[in-house]
Symmetry: C2
Subunit: 335 residues, 2 copies
């Protein structure tokens, strides 16, 4: 019987996530029942939200100790016990950190043929679509407005700023090092980018956003959110995409100017997740394709190699060491 | 020359507001220039926002030490240097804590004749219109949903719950004593009301809102907001009307589940002030009149007598001792 490698959550982290919370295991190859598929994992999406899943139930099932770590993956069907899918199909699945997974056929979404599969997890995947819907449908920027985005060197933030530019807005990023900020400006074409680890965030924001901030795409929460709220323009909008600063065991703290500043400035603060916009995915994909074709949107990917690198890929992401969409390649694209 | 009484802010409070921050003065009667009116104050509106004005510039000019205290008033024109207003006109004005004030004629809004002038400051004034627009236009409740409102025994909260009932919603209040809660239920007809000073707010909310909370009309901010956020239903809405818990020198603290809970539950949190809806005031007035006529809306007023009672009226309001719209009567209604 052939074997399967997988990465298990040995123990849920109490504080910061570390390698010690994971274990690589070799187990028997699973086998699909009726209505199921055996899928070979090609690429796994690595997201800050993975860490939030370990904190308890969110908008989805929590990750528990002993679970093979949960993930979204792109894979290829290698055995099918369903009429709906054929061997060789490329599918997107809620999967696990494993070389092979068994999934319900009806939960395996067939993917269109694209030349580079990783694009299905970056620009045309959750990252690109989160940026698009969060900015366009929640933030609703108008030409000439200033759009600020945190985690600007991250998988979502980079697209947010580029889409904002394409809409005629001033795009300003916040990132975690001078090198990242330089990359965000030079490589992604943001108008400005601020290193939040340097002292003087408030003044740096004032300098980078001389007309105030109209839309803040918030990936981090915490003190940065509090500082930004003071500089929002009246009737500003905050698209709440995540709170990465609060996922990894930092003591939770809340923005002290909520709700005061929301009242004074008549701000709208709204949380969203990309699944809410499933019915409008076509509009996002079409616009993202147009922007990629026109060169207005550069695709940033940050790929680790090998299943066993997945813990480091996630731990590093939480520490902010990624540039663009992080994923783990478990097998090569089928030729 | 005749004289005028006024109450001056002797010193801005650092912590809690007290009588020592005010001083009653007798000064010469002011006299209007061209384009101005001399207005005799009849009723002054006493609002938690008055205290926020002392914290610095908000959506309006700040109150400074040495200022005659700012207020909204209903008054009668006693001398006019403008063709737009005649002696005897009843007007609503941004005024001061004073028996008489001089105002620009163009800033004095003529009021329709109503049998009881205080209704212009309660149900048909800022309190009623704030409740209406905040609930209907910001919170957007749907029949059958649960609407929660804090400061339910206050000037705005009482109307919020009654309007929610008229829309077919479950109305639940939060107030500051068992007596207030009983009054909110029995007199105002709320389905339930919770004493936030009693232990176990979280469980009390669960019991009073068995189907979760769809709309939270927030007058207080702080820890109550944090607790409520945990019990909001997905796609819930928080209409941010004020943060009374943070106006009077309490150490500011922020809800630790912002923005996390907003993302997980896809909540919308939106600040507003009633002036934003000036163009739609007619719709609010019409609906509020209909509800008063039909008996669905009871008018609650809490009137202190005499200009010199204004500091106590405000200090008491901040401590939560009011039932319904607080105001100060400076002169009787004209007969």
């Amino acid at each position: 019987m052939s074997q399967n490698k997988q990465v298990v959550v040995k123990e849920l982290p109490q504080g910061q996530l570390g390698r010690e919370h994971f274990e690589l295991q070799t187990v028997d190859m699973p086998s699909p029942d009726d209505g199921e598929l055996l899928v070979k994992t090609i690429l796994m999406s690595i997201d800050a939200a993975n860490r939030a899943w370990m904190q308890g139930a969110t908008y989805r099932e929590a990750v528990k100790a002993g679970d093979v770590m949960h993930t979204y993956s792109i894979g290829q069907v290698v055995e099918s016990k369903s009429d709906s899918h054929a061997v060789g199909d490329i599918v997107a699945v809620e999967a696990r950190w494993a070389e092979h997974v068994v999934v319900k056929a009806k939960a395996a979404q067939k993917m269109p043929p694209v030349p580079v599969l990783s694009h299905l997890l970056s620009v045309f995947g959750i990252a690109g679509r989160t940026a698009y819907h969060g900015l366009v449908d929640v933030g609703r920027p108008v030409k000439g407005e200033t759009v600020l985005v945190s985690a600007a060197a991250g998988s979502v933030g980079g697209y947010v700023g580029q889409i904002a530019k394409s809409l005629g807005c001033r795009a300003v990023g916040i990132a975690g090092s001078p090198e990242k900020c330089a990359w965000v400006k030079e490589e992604l074409g943001f108008d400005d980018c601020i290193d939040y680890r340097a002292p003087g965030l408030f003044k740096a924001l004032q300098a980078a956003c001389p007309d105030g901030i109209d839309v803040y795409f918030d990936n981090v929460g915490g003190e940065i959110l509090e500082t930004v709220l003071f500089q929002m323009n009246e009737r500003g909008r905050i698209a709440c995409c995540g709170a990465i600063s609060q996922y990894d065991g930092s003591p939770p703290s809340g923005p002290r100017n909520v709700p005061g500043m929301l009242v004074v400035k008549r701000l709208r603060m709204e949380g969203f997740i990309v699944m809410d916009f499933a019915k409008e995915a076509h509009r996002a994909t079409k616009e993202l394709q147009r922007l990629v074709m026109s060169g207005e949107l550069k695709i940033q990917e940050d790929i680790y190699e090998g299943l066993e690198s997945a813990p480091d890929a996630l731990i590093g992401l939480l520490a902010g060491n990624n540039r663009g969409k992080r994923m783990v390649r478990v097998a090569p694209d089928p030729s």
